[in-house]
Amino acid sequence: MKAEQVKGLKPDGSFADNARRIVKVRVDELYALAPKALDVDRPKKLHDMRIAAKRLRYVLEIARPALGKGATDGVRTAKALQQLLGDIHDCDEMLPRVQAHAARLRAADVDHLTRRPGRNARDLKPGLAPTAPGADRNRGLETLAAHLAARRRVLFARFEREWIRLEARDFRGTLLAAISPPEPEAPAPAGGAGP
C-alpha cells in the first residue's frame, strides 16, 4: 500500500511543524482503513491497516524529540496495534502454507499408493494406506491448521474490541491534541491591575 503524500512540508521550517503535518496524515490514513479492515473477510485491508499503523509508529518515533510525550503515548498505541494486526497477518500467511504442505504430502502419498498394486490392479487394498510415506509426516498438520484458524478468530475479536476502545478514548483526537503547539502565553493586561 502506497503511503499518502504529505503536502506542504517545508525543509526550512521547524521539525515540529513538519512532523505534526505528517502525523496528521498518517493517523487519518489509519482511521480511513479501519472500516474495511474490520470486515473479517478482507485480510488484505487488515494488512494495509497494519502497514498504516507501522508508518504512524515510525513517524512518531522519529518525531519524538520534536513532539515530546504526546508522541511517546502514540508510539505505544500504534506499536500495540501493529503487533496485534501482525499476529493476525501471521495466521493468514501460515494457514494456507500448512494446507499447501499437507496437500503436497497427500498428493505424494496418492502417487505412491497408486503405484503399489501394479498397472492392472482391479482395486486398492486399504491396508496399503499406512505404507504411504506421508502417513506419519502428515500427523498434526490438521491440528495445526485448526489452531491457526481458531487463533485468527480470537485475535480478530480482540482487534474489534481494541478498536472500539481506541475510538472510545478518541485516540486520534487525543494524539493530535497532545502534539499540538503550546498555546502562546497570554499578554499581560495593559494598565496594571485595574480599578
Binding site: V59, R139, L144
Partner: protein, 158 residues
C-alpha cells in the same frame, strides 16, 4: 531487538532539513553495525536487528523526503528497500520456525511429526534466504550504499 540509538541535538525548533541530516546519518550508521551478525543462523536476532534498523532508516528517508535531492534520494531509498526485502526473506522463515517449534511443544507428541516436517521445509528456505542476505550485503558494499547515505544526509543541510 536492539534499541534505536538516540539522535542528539534535535529540538522542536530545529530546521527540518537539519533533523533530516542527523536522523539519516545516525540511522544509516546503525544499519551497517549489524552486518556481521545478520548471517548467523544460530542466533536469529542479528538479522532481526538489521531489518528493524533498515525499517527505521527507511522511515527516516520517507519522512524527510522533501529535504533531499530527488534523484539521489530515490536511488538510495531503492537500495535500502532492496536490502530490507532480502532481510525480510530471511526473517520470515526465522519467525515461522520459532513459532511452529513453540506450538509443537504444546501439541500432543503424536501431532508433532507433521509440524517437524514443515519446519524442515522452512529450514531449507532459511538457508537459501541466508545466501540471499549474503549477496545483498555484498551488493551494499559494491554499490557504496553506506557512503551514498552519508552523502545524502549531508546534502540535506543545504
Amino acid at each position: 531487538m536492539a534499541k534505536a540509538k538516540p539522535i542528539r541535538g534535535l529540538a522542536p525548533d530545529s530546521r527540518f532539513r537539519d533533523a533530516a541530516a542527523a536522523a539519516v546519518s545516525v540511522r544509516a550508521t546503525e544499519v551497517f553495525t549489524f552486518a556481521d551478525a545478520a548471517l548467523d543462523l544460530s542466533d536469529i536476532e542479528g538479522v532481526h536487528d538489521m531489518r528493524v534498523a533498515t525499517r527505521r532508516l527507511r522511515a527516516a528517508l520517507e519522512v524527510f523526503a522533501p529535504c533531499f535531492p530527488r534523484k539521489a534520494h530515490a536511488d538510495v531509498l531503492k537500495g535500502v528497500k532492496d536490502l530490507a526485502d532480502r532481510l525480510g526473506q530471511r526473517r520470515d522463515p526465522d519467525v515461522a520456525i520459532e513459532e511452529l517449534e513453540a506450538m509443537a511443544k504444546e501439541f500432543a507428541p503424536a501431532d508433532r511429526p507433521g509440524v517437524a516436517g514443515l519446519v524442515e521445509e522452512l529450514r531449507a528456505e532459511q538457508a537459501a534466504a541466508n545466501e540471499t542476505v549474503a549477496r545483498a550485503l555484498a551488493d551494499v558494499q559494491a554499490s557504496a550504499l553506506p557512503e551514498r547515505l552519508q552523502d545524502l544526509a549531508e546534502a540535506a543541510r543545504s
